[in-house]
Amino acid sequence: MSDSFVSYSVKKLRQRALGKGGFANADNSSYRCDATAWAILALVAAGEDHDNELLSLARTRLAASQLSDGRVSLSPEHPEIYWPTPLAILAWHQSPAHQARLSQAANFLLQNSGRHWQTQPEFAVKLDNTLKGWPWVDGNSSWVAPTALAIIALKTAGYGNQPRVSEAQRMLLDRECLHGGWNYGNKLVFGVEIRPMPEDTGIALDALQDSTAKSSLKRSLAYLKSAVKSLQTPIALAWSLLGLGAWGERPAAAPAMLSECLKRQDRYGVYDTTCLSLLILAARSSGGLEKIFNPDPVLPKG
């Protein structure tokens, strides 16, 4: 991956670093915990982890978003919105000063889940809702993306052998679309198959890495290998590359795809922190998201 691509993106991220620590999601805006976590991961992936002060301040600012039960919420006004918790776990990983925070966050996830109940045959939505995953917001149903993120975070932090993790992986497998791929989390509604989406397929594939036989994911991998060819937008492209990479199917054209995506800023303006971070992560990881902590020696850093 071109150094200039990563250098440009890192420069933009640094411009959004805040004086009190942490990052904003857009230019001239305020602290966001999700943007902060993503930026930390991106800077680590880009080989900027030597900048201890910037990362340390950011991790500490993230700690201020953590509540007493271990969850990390999107904002103080919304303690129920706890989907950033797995991002915080990843951001604190390998930071000795934040291991206690990480453990609290992991324990929160292990003790909480989305809303689950026994579905009846006559229900319009066909899925096994007894399998526990994680929601976007406390008290809501479990969905593919927050569940996948939690799996990735817990595995990375050493909690991969927890029963909740394997159950969540079974939940993801239950949500796989009938002809392959994943969407937000429904496969059949009123008897009609719902279509997959690349960003959800990518994140689900990453979360399922090493948990099931590759042959059982043949259709989903085929869907994503086809879909990725036409992707030009950051979230879908980055997650597709990470998901395919997790199964050794990262396309050779990935660097060119990422460069083209970055050029779309001519049309859309500078991408937000989440998008830029995801692009850096997809550029730097030959496998899934967790690979940034065990980089492939073949891919150059910095």
Partner: protein, 330 residues
């Protein structure tokens, strides 16, 4: 001092009679006074001059140029899912561009197009795959992804649901007029999706999830009413050139109607659209409840300008297997 059971029952009955009288008087005296206009244009296809159609609609609705001149306009299309060649899912890009052109010709200082897709976490992907990106780029009309913006909270002005506040994306505070640029469709949870339900798409996914599950748990009908009561959008334009029938809002079938419906009051617009679909607005839960405080849905209170409903009305297929679509027929 305490009440006897008899006194309590008398008081309860008196209260009920008083409430019923109030409702009766409101219906007889107040409701008839609330009049709103809606405009229907016949449009045969998507190659029409939508800017001219919409400008005509603004004139017929009595929207004076001063209302738009110098203002910042936000157009919120219905961008749900992209499926190449399927023009019945999303607000057509040429309708969106036509609306932008109409407002710019009317002197708006800025026109933005914005969306926070409910199922897709990559709004820009929807924007591109729907064809809207290329169309708007020709005129350099900016597009805003509402899903990841910082939010600001307002007290729930509707209180139809248990939600005490609603969080909106920062862009909504930076515009003067909010236009719901919807699509004429059935819906498998709400019965129909028109200009009011379209505003689910302004609620940021970062706060409400993908899908916007917080609103589902609050009650879809109640959430529709709360969002509209709190946000108070200014105008609705509904793309009914080709709508959707059956299993909407995504998997249904194309339904050519050849109509564009506009109005300043969203319940009145939705009620008109429902009649165009040969659906009884009083049988649609959120519309029936709209009448209490958001706008009229009774035909006698909606001044119809442009074409008549009868000239464009066509029966939209409703599916018996979908409870929300049962017994909606006009």
């Amino acid at each position: 001092m305490g009440f006897t059971r008899r006194e309590f029952l008398k008081a309860g009955i008196a209260g009920a009679v008083l409430a019923a009288s109030g409702l009766y008087l409101w219906r007889r005296l107040v409701r008839p006074r609330w009049l709103e206009k809606t405009f229907i244009a016949k449009v045969s296809g998507y190659q029409a001059d939508f800017a001219s159609v919409i400008l005509a609609g603004l004139r017929e609705l009595g929207i004076a140029p001063e209302v738009i001149k110098g203002k910042r306009i936000l157009l919120k299309p219905n961008l749900v899912e992209a499926n190449p060649g399927k023009i019945h899912i999303n607000t057509h890009p040429l309708v969106v561009r036509g609306a932008a052109e109409a407002f710019l010709k009317s002197g708006a200082s800025q026109v933005l197009v914005a969306e926070g897709t409910a199922h897709c976490r990559d709004t820009l992907r929807m924007f591109e795959e729907s064809g809207l990106s290329d169309v708007l780029w020709e005129d350099r009309i900016p597009f805003i992804d509402l899903n990841y913006q910082d939010g600001y909270a307002l007290p729930n002005a509707g209180r139809f649901s248990r939600l005490t506040s609603l969080t909106f994306p920062a862009t909504l505070r930076q515009v003067d007029l909010i236009v719901s640029l919807a699509k004429l469709k059935t819906h498998h949870w709400a019965g129909i999706t028109l200009s009011m339900k379209n505003l689910f798409g302004v609620m940021p996914g970062s706060y409400y999830g993908w899908p916007k599950n917080v609103l589902h748990y609050a009650g879809i009908d109640a959430a529709i009413l709360d969002i509209n009561a709190t946000l108070r959008p200014h105008l609705a334009i509904v793309d009914g050139i080709v709508g959707m029938e059956g299993d909407g809002p995504i998997m249904g079938d194309p339904k050519p109607v050849g109509a564009l419906v506009m109005g300043r009051n969203l319940p009145a617009v939705d009620a008109t659209c429902a009649r165009v679909m040969k659906i009884d607005p009083y049988r649609v839960n959120y519309l029936r409840q709209s009448e209490t405080c958001l706008g009229p849905i009774h035909e006698a209170q909606i001044i119809q300008v442009g074409e008549t409903i009868a000239s464009v009305a066509t029966e939209f297929k409703l599916l018996e297997k979908i409870p929300a679509q049962r017994e909606l027929r006009l």
